[in-house]
C-alpha cells in the first residue's frame, strides 16, 4: 500500500478506521473488506475504484450506513454511523446524504418533478416550497422542460439527470454514486459526470463515486484503488492530469 500525497490542509469529513467485513456464506467465510483506513475530505470527489469483487460496493455501503461492518468505525463528522440504529440512520441519511443509483431508481408513478421533490417530502417540507426547489434543481440539470414527464417517458441519460437532481436537492454534505453511468452510453456518460462534478464544486459537496471504469475514475480528485478488500493505492488526480487524459482520448 502506497500513499502518494496527503492533504494536510483539508478538513476530514469521513474518517474510516479499521473497517473489516466478513460474510458468512454457509460454512465458508468471505472477507469482503480486510482492513480499511481512509480519510475523505470535505468538498472532494473521491473514486473507489476496483474490479468486481474487490469490495468497492461493500465499502460504499459501509460509508453510506446501508450495511454494518464486522468491526471498525465510520465517523461522519462527529457521528459514528456504525453505532446508529435503523431509524437513526434513516434520519441521518435524510439530513446529510444524497444517493445516485446505477439503475436510476426513480418512482414510475411520479413525474420527474415529484421524484426530485421526494427527499424534501420525507423531510416534511410543504408542496409549494419543495416543488420550487425541485424545479430549480431540474433546471440546473437541464431538464426544465421535462418537469411533468414520467420516468418511462425519458431516456436513460435524462433519467439519471433526474436522479442527480434528486440526490442534490436536499443540499446534502455527501453524495454517494454507485456506478452512476453504468447503464449509459459514452457521450451521455461524459455529460452526466461533468454535471455531477460541476454541482458538487458549486456547493462544496463531497462526492464518493464507485466505478470499475478508469475513464470515470479520472473525474475524481483522488482515486482509491481497491483489490481484494484492501486499499492498494490512493492516487491524487490533479487537474492537468485529467485534461491530459481527455486529450489523449480525443
Amino acid at each position: 500500500m502506497e500513499e502518494v500525497v496527503s492533504n494536510q490542509d483539508k478538513k476530514v469529513i469521513i474518517k474510516v478506521e479499521g473497517i473489516r467485513k466478513v460474510y458468512n456464506l454457509g460454512q465458508e467465510k468471505v472477507i469482503a473488506l480486510d482492513n480499511i483506513d481512509l480519510d475523505i475530505y470535505k468538498g472532494e470527489i473521491l473514486c473507489i475504484f476496483g474490479t468486481s469483487g474487490s469490495g468497492k460496493s461493500t465499502l460504499l455501503n459501509m460509508l453510506a450506513g446501508l450495511e454494518k461492518p464486522t468491526r471498525g468505525s465510520v465517523m461522519i463528522g462527529k457521528t459514528d454511523i456504525t453505532k446508529l440504529n435503523e431509524s437513526q440512520l434513516a434520519l441521518f441519511r435524510q439530513k446529510h446524504i444524497g444517493f445516485v443509483f446505477q439503475s436510476y431508481n426513480l418512482l414510475n408513478i411520479m413525474t420527474s418533478l415529484e421524484n426530485v421533490a421526494m427527499p424534501l417530502m420525507f423531510k416534511g417540507i410543504d408542496k409549494k416550497t419543495r416543488n420550487r426547489a425541485a424545479k430549480k434543481m431540474l433546471k440546473e440539470v437541464g431538464l426544465e422542460n421535462r418537469l411533468n414527464h414520467k420516468p418511462n417517458q425519458m431516456s436513460g441519460g435524462q433519467q439519471q439527470r433526474v436522479g442527480i437532481a434528486r440526490a442534490f436537492v436536499g443540499n446534502p454534505k455527501i453524495v454517494f454514486a454507485d456506478e452512476p453511468t453504468g447503464n449509459l452510453d459514452s457521450k451521455t456518460t461524459i455529460e452526466v459526470m461533468e454535471l455531477m462534478c460541476r454541482m458538487s464544486k458549486e456547493h462544496e459537496q463531497t462526492i464518493i463515486l464507485v466505478s470499475h471504469d478508469p475513464e470515470i475514475a479520472n473525474y475524481a480528485d483522488r482515486i482509491v484503488h481497491l483489490i481484494d478488500g484492501n486499499i492498494k493505492s490512493i492516487k491524487v488526480n490533479d487537474k492537468n492530469n485529467r485534461n491530459e487524459g481527455k486529450e489523449n482520448e480525443e
Partner: protein, 444 residues
C-alpha cells in the same frame, strides 16, 4: 412527512393497481354490508317488539305496592314518596290508587253535578305530576298551586255522570250507531261538587239517618286529560288530587264516627316514572331495597331485550365471517404490493424516508381500502335495507321496518371497516419496515 402527502401517495399507489384495489374494496364492502344488514335486522326486530309492548303498557313506569297486613313492613306514605322522588333518574312519583264512586248507599263519596251523579272510577293521584307521568291535556290547563279541590277528567270521564233517575249505570260515550254522544256534564263549564256519605247501618240492615250537616265541596276542574290506551287501560276516569282526597277521607271517618289509623293514611299504590327505559331496572331495584313490592314492564322487556341482543350478536357474528375473509383479502393485497414494491421501498429508505413513514404509508393504504369498502358497504346496506323492508312489509303486512340502521350502526360499520383495514395492514407494514435498504438496491 406530511399527512397530506401520505394520503396523496396512498391514493396514487391504490390507483396504480386499480383492479386489485377495487377487488379488495369489494371484499370489505361485502363484509361491512353483511354485518350492518344482519345487525339492522336484529335492531328492527327489537324495535318492533318494543313498540308492541309500549302500545299497551307504559314501559317506563314502576308500580309500587303497599304491603298489607304486616305492621313492621315499610310504610307507603308521604315520607317514602319523598324518598322515592329523590332516587336518581326518577322523573316523577305520585300516589296512584282508585276508588269506585257510584250512586248507591255503599259508596263513601258522592260526586254530583246538577241531576247527574258520577258512577265510575276515581284515581287518587298527585295532579301536579301528571304531565311528567306522560299524560297530555286535551283541553284547558293543568292545575296550579292556587287551585283547590281539584278534580280532572279524561276525555271519556264525564260520560260516567249518569242521571240516577233514569239510569243505573253509564252507557258509555257512544250510542248504538257508534256516534259520540253529547257530554252529560261539561266539567270545564258546569259546577261539580263532592260530598262524603253517611252510610252506617243498623242491625236490621237499614241505613241510619245522620243528624248533622255534611259539607258540600265545590270542585275545580281546570282541564281535560287526553285519553291514552297505554294508560289506565283506556278507561273513563276522574283524577282527584291526593291531598284533597286525604281531607275527604278524614271527613268521612269523622262523619261516620270511625277511628282513623295510620294504616288508613297510607297509599295503596304509588307510580314512579323513570326518565329512560335503560334506568328502569336500576330504579326498581332501589325501590325494592326500601322494602316495597314493585312491578314494571321492565322484567318482561329485560328478558326480551336480552334475547334480542343474543339474536343481534349471532346475526352480527354471521356477518363478521365475511368481514374476516375481507380482512385476509386486505392483508394479501398488502403483502403482494410490498413484494412488488420491495425495490421502491428500499430506494425510499436510501434517499431518506424514515421507518415510521414507511409504516404509515402502508397502514394508510390498508386503512383507505377499509374505509372505501366501509363507505360502499354502508351505501349498499341502506339500499338492501330498503329492499328488505319493502319485500317484508308486502309479505307480512305493515308491522314496522324489519331492518333498521340507526346512526350508531352506521358509525360502527364505518369505524369497524377502517379498523379491520388497519389491523390487516399491521403485519404487512411491519414487513415493509424490515425490508433492508441494501437488498432493495442489489435486486436488479
Amino acid at each position: 412527512m406530511k399527512i397530506y402527502d401520505l394520503f396523496r401517495l396512498c391514493v396514487s399507489n391504490l390507483w396504480k393497481r386499480k383492479l386489485r384495489s377495487v377487488l379488495t374494496v369489494l371484499g370489505v364492502m361485502i363484509g361491512t354490508t353483511s354485518i350492518v344488514v344482519m345487525i339492522s335486522i336484529g335492531v328492527g326486530l327489537e324495535n318492533i317488539q318494543e313498540e308492541q309492548i309500549s302500545s299497551y303498557m307504559d314501559i317506563t313506569t314502576i308500580q309500587v305496592y303497599r304491603t298489607w297486613g304486616d305492621e313492621n313492613a315499610a310504610k307507603l306514605d308521604e315520607e317514602s314518596l319523598g324518598i322515592i322522588k329523590k332516587i336518581d333518574h326518577v322523573k316523577a312519583a305520585t300516589p296512584y290508587f282508585s276508588y269506585y264512586f257510584d250512586v248507591g248507599d255503599y259508596s263513601n263519596y258522592r260526586m254530583t253535578s246538577g241531576r247527574y251523579t258520577y258512577s265510575g272510577s276515581v284515581y287518587v293521584v298527585d295532579l301536579s305530576m301528571m304531565a311528567d307521568l306522560g299524560y297530555e291535556l286535551a283541553d284547558g290547563r293543568w292545575p296550579t298551586a292556587k287551585d283547590e279541590n281539584v278534580i280532572m277528567f279524561n276525555e271519556n270521564g264525564p260520560y260516567n255522570f249518569i242521571d240516577s233517575t233514569k239510569e243505573t249505570w253509564s252507557s258509555g260515550a257512544y250510542d248504538s250507531q257508534g256516534n259520540k254522544k253529547p257530554l252529560p256534564v261539561d266539567p270545564l263549564r258546569k259546577r261539580i261538587s263532592m260530598q262524603v256519605q253517611y252510610n252506617q247501618f243498623d242491625e236490621t240492615g237499614n241505613l241510619k239517618t245522620y243528624s248533622g250537616d255534611i259539607r258540600q265541596h265545590k270542585l275545580t276542574s281546570p282541564g281535560i286529560i287526553k285519553g291514552d290506551s297505554s294508560k289506565d287501560y283506556g278507561q273513563a276516569i276522574a283524577y282527584i288530587d291526593y291531598k284533597f282526597f286525604a281531607n275527604l277521607k278524614e271527613e268521612y271517618y269523622k262523619v261516620n264516627g270511625l277511628k282513623m289509623t295510620n294504616n288508613d293514611k297510607m297509599f295503596d299504590q304509588v307510580y314512579v316514572k323513570v326518565d329512560d327505559i335503560e334506568n328502569v331496572a336500576d330504579v326498581e331495584a332501589q325501590i325494592k331495597e326500601l322494602g316495597f313490592d314493585t312491578w314494571s314492564a321492565e322484567q318482561m322487556r329485560g328478558q326480551m331485550s336480552d334475547m334480542m341482543q343474543t339474536v343481534q350478536l349471532v346475526l352480527g357474528a354471521l356477518g363478521a365471517v365475511s368481514m374476516l375473509v375481507a380482512a385476509i383479502g386486505i392483508a394479501n393485497t398488502m403483502v403482494m404490493s410490498i413484494y412488488e414494491r420491495t425495490r421502491e421501498i428500499g430506494v425510499m429508505k436510501v434517499i431518506g424516508c424514515r421507518l415510521g413513514d414507511i409504516r404509515a404509508m402502508f397502514l394508510t393504504e390498508a386503512a383507505c381500502i377499509g374505509m372505501i369498502g366501509g363507505i360502499c358497504g354502508l351505501i349498499l346496506s341502506h339500499s338492501l335495507s330498503i329492499v328488505v323492508n319493502i319485500v317484508m312489509s308486502s309479505m307480512m303486512g305493515s308491522t314496522g321496518d324489519i331492518s333498521q340502521i340507526p346512526l350508531w350502526l352506521d358509525l360502527l360499520g364505518f369505524g369497524f371497516s377502517i379498523l379491520v383495514g388497519i389491523i390487516s395492514g399491521i403485519s404487512p407494514a411491519n414487513r415493509a419496515v424490515k425490508i433492508s435498504a441494501l437488498s432493495a438496491i442489489r435486486q436488479e
